[in-house]
């Protein structure tokens, strides 16, 4: 058996596969399919300081090889998360990344501070949500804002801090360097690309929010490119995601420079996708006589 374990910020993951924030809730639903301990980690639904109700429906639109969503960070708030969801998740023998967001740097810091006194393993700061009016994407598209919000959160917590980047930017490497400078321990990318669908019979956008975030297999090449560019620009580890649907995709993203891989909308097509991907990675490594998955991280040989 090849060794699938990876280390990020001194946290050991038994394998590199992590269901992405927002697609997996707090794990309870998917636990009805398989034990959560099979996963390398879980990134929980984005948590804000106070409860948020999210956007009006429809929040979902299908696209070729993907989907749009405009959920808008519906969540019960950090206090509820800490009391009712986190303790349960922490018994599941897998790494928990608490994904957080906010409208202001102060709100993000407040959430991080509350999580700092829990046993959560890592904090993933989302500076890239395209579905909320304030904060969210605005943080992720300006180097100054990205730096500000990262340093505010950095001051609020000693936990390993992963900053999740938006692909809706001119230069992903500039933003990545800004958050590295501000104290991020790792970066994760990519969040969804801003998109839109229109029902041509009613002339109405499919999403009530008009626009939403594009995810799924269709965005995979963009993810590979951005992970590769980012991994070459920063010294901190990169967690890759965006359109991963198979073990081969996960291997490709790791070759591009990712130390671990998150799996998002693939779980909607197949709830077993994360566990199948782990098995497929294992098969690939064995067939190619690679003893540890760590060997493939950043192993692409560019022309």
């Amino acid at each position: 058996m090849a060794d699938l374990s990876v280390d990020i910020c001194n946290i050991k993951f038994k394998n590199p596969i992590i269901p992405a924030s927002g697609v997996f809730g707090y794990g309870r639903e998917y636990e009805e399919f398989y034990p959560l301990s099979e996963l390398g980690g879980i990134a929980t639904k984005g948590t804000t300081a106070k409860k948020r109700t999210g956007n009006l429906s429809p929040r979902i639109a299908e696209t070729t090889a993907g989907m749009l969503n405009s959920v808008g960070l519906q969540n019960p708030g950090v206090d509820y998360f800490i009391q009712h969801e986190l303790p349960y998740l922490l018994t599941k023998n897998t790494v928990i990344l608490a994904n957080i967001a906010g409208s202001t740097p102060e709100e993000c810091a407040e959430v991080a501070e509350k999580l700092d006194s829990t046993d959560v393993h890592m904090i993933e700061l989302n500076i890239s949500c395209p579905n909320v009016k304030q904060g969210g994407a605005a943080f992720g598209t300006s180097c100054t804002m990205a730096e500000q919000v990262t340093s505010a959160v950095r001051k609020a917590t000693a936990k390993p801090l992963v900053v999740k980047l938006s692909p809706n930017v001119t230069s992903i490497t500039e933003i990545a360097k800004a958050v590295e400078f501000a104290g991020a321990d790792a970066v994760s990318l990519i969040n969804t690309l801003l998109g839109m669908r229109i029902d041509i019979h009613t002339k109405r956008p499919v999403l009530k929010n008009n626009v939403g975030g594009l995810s799924g297999a269709g965005i995979f090449p963009v993810a590979v490119r951005m992970v590769w560019q980012t991994a070459n620009a920063v010294k901190i580890p990169v967690i890759g995601m965006g359109g991963v649907t198979s073990g081969e995709d996960a291997i490709e993203l790791m070759m591009a420079g990712a130390s671990a891989v998150q799996v998002g909308m693939a779980v909607f097509t197949d709830p077993y996708a994360p566990v199948k991907i782990i098995q497929q990675m294992q098969n690939f490594l064995e067939e190619n006589h690679i003893s540890s998955v760590k060997e493939i991280i950043g192993s692409v040989q560019p022309w």
Binding site: G22, V23, F24, G25, R28, E29, Y30, E32, F33, K45, T53, G54, N55, L56, S57, P58, R59, I60, A61, E62, T63, A65, G66, M67, N69, V71, Q74, V206, G216, A217, M265, V267, F268, T269, D270, P271, Y272
Partner: protein, 256 residues
């Protein structure tokens, strides 16, 4: 493990009206647990999102469920192209179904168009204690009348144009008449305007009513928060989720 996903064989395929198909699928694990009002989440091959389809029949003895669907667009077209003997990828049974009331003397089931099929498991349960009101646009859309009759339920069929010798008009006309004689409960599924009308008729008559809602879904299990609907429970309006908290809700809770 509450949910199952798998590839299950279609053991019978029937075209029952224009663009409407009935599949009987062999899936003992799903049949075992399924309740009236629940749905299965079906992946048409080559698509990224699954399609929610109501369970229209549960046969525990033979380990089968039945689904009845209309071709709406590409995904349901792909399902309709499947043949008997081929496999269908489903997750199920999902959602919170209709309340079964063992002591009820008379219940009314209201189905509009492609909202008619999920009424069938209820008719099987309530048998002669059920009156089924079905509404269709016109003659070619009429489905499942014999199936309801086979359950010994009273069946009333309405068409908007009065075709097929049916009662002309909307389901709410016979519903109002029946409710004036009282009933223990009304269960309904159909387009939103119909559900809204049924809910308000029931509210006026002070009769308990449950309705089945639709929303676009991704996960189907309550994890992604994609299928939000506005529900007013205990005085607080909040977004609940059609796939897990529903699809069936108490009509009085739904904010239309």
């Amino acid at each position: 493990m509450k949910y199952v996903q798998g590839n299950y064989p279609i053991i019978q395929k029937k075209a029952i009206a224009e663009n409407v198909f009935s599949f009987t699928v062999l899936c003992p694990e799903i049949a075992e647990k399924a309740c009236a009002g629940q749905f299965v989440h079906i992946l048409p091959e080559g698509f990224s999102l699954r399609r929610p389809i109501s369970i229209a029949g549960i046969d525990r003895k033979n380990g089968t469920i039945r689904i009845v669907f209309v071709i709406k667009h590409k995904g349901t077209q792909a399902l309709a192209d499947l043949h008997q003997g081929e496999y269908i990828n489903m997750i199920g049974p999902l959602g919170h179904g209709f309340t079964l009331m063992p002591n009820a003397q008379h219940v009314i089931l209201v189905g509009g168009g492609i909202g008619v099929p999920p009424m069938l498991p209820l008719a099987e349960y309530y048998q002669e204690k059920a009156t089924v009101i079905t509404g269709f646009r016109s003659f070619p859309q009429i489905i499942l009348q014999e199936d309801f009759e086979a359950c010994h339920a009273q069946v009333i069929c309405c068409t908007e144009d009065g075709s097929a010798g049916a009662m002309k008009g909307l389901v709410t006309t016979p519903l109002e008449q029946l409710l004036s004689e009282g009933a223990d409960a009304v269960f309904a599924c159909g387009a939103l305007p119909m559900l809204k009308a049924v809910a308000s008729v029931c509210q006026r008559a002070e009769i308990y009513c449950e309705i089945s809602l639709e929303e676009r879904m991704a996960c189907g299990v309550g994890a992604c928060l994609g299928c939000a609907c506005r529900i007013n429970r205990s005085g607080n309006e909040e977004f609940l989720h059609v796939c897990k908290d529903g699809p069936v809700f108490k009509a009085e809770e739904v904010v239309f």
